[in-house]
Symmetry: C2
Subunit: 126 residues, 2 copies
Amino acid sequence: MDTDQVSGRWDAGKGACPTRQVLGRIGDTWTMLIITTLERDGTLRSGQLKSSIEGITQKMLTQTLRHLERDGVVRRDVVATVPVTVTYTLTPLGRSLGAAVATMRAWAYQHMDDIVAARNEYDARD
Amino acid sequence: MDTDQVSGRWDAGKGACPTRQVLGRIGDTWTMLIITTLERDGTLRSGQLKSSIEGITQKMLTQTLRHLERDGVVRRDVVATVPVTVTYTLTPLGRSLGAAVATMRAWAYQHMDDIVAARNEYDARD
DNA sequence: CCGCATCCTTAGAGATACTG
DNA sequence: CAGTATCTCTAAGGATGCGG
């Protein structure tokens, strides 16, 4: 079993504000991508998710899905076929998160060019 | 000089979609907190930021600010007093990002309880 | 086909001390 | 006061093989 949890960093200070834990989870590398994919495509199987998300490994996929399931954002359904079929779907909570994530994605898409331009200018200086 | 950049992971696949780079930066541990703080308090000095953000180290603060400055999200102003005074302010681009981040924060705050409940239930099972 | 367990590598983050 | 540089070390993440 891995001991990562939320990596303790937040709990170090006595603040331990739960908002930070949530933000931390959202900030996770793969969370946004998984949420976005599930929101776009609805219910997906593990393998479909894996091939939809460029670069994700089996381990990270499963791990992130576990976290999201634990947080009540994703529902995991197991159908006892042979071999077993496992599907993932956003819960209502997950869909509401999906909306927020969509806002972020929209921002990113919209301002991509500005950022690239800013970077070029920054790197050109000095 | 640090070689982190965007940690190369995204560029591995030939996709290299710039959106991912942006998402990656946003997902960074401290980015949201710095943006939020600057949005709330306006212009701040390095030290003020440091003491406003529980748990951040000098190193991470500077590093993240550099990234944000490079992306055109934060403006860095140096006043040649003795000792030197350095202030940070959100650019217009930064403020627009601040709005998106606020959405995320709001979501987190709003659904904190649901998430904690889901976790408890999840941990109780099995 | 799904995902768990193990090993291994390295980047990221802390602590500390030094320069302008 | 702001920032950089160095050293260390943890733990996130990739690769692989097994088991249901």
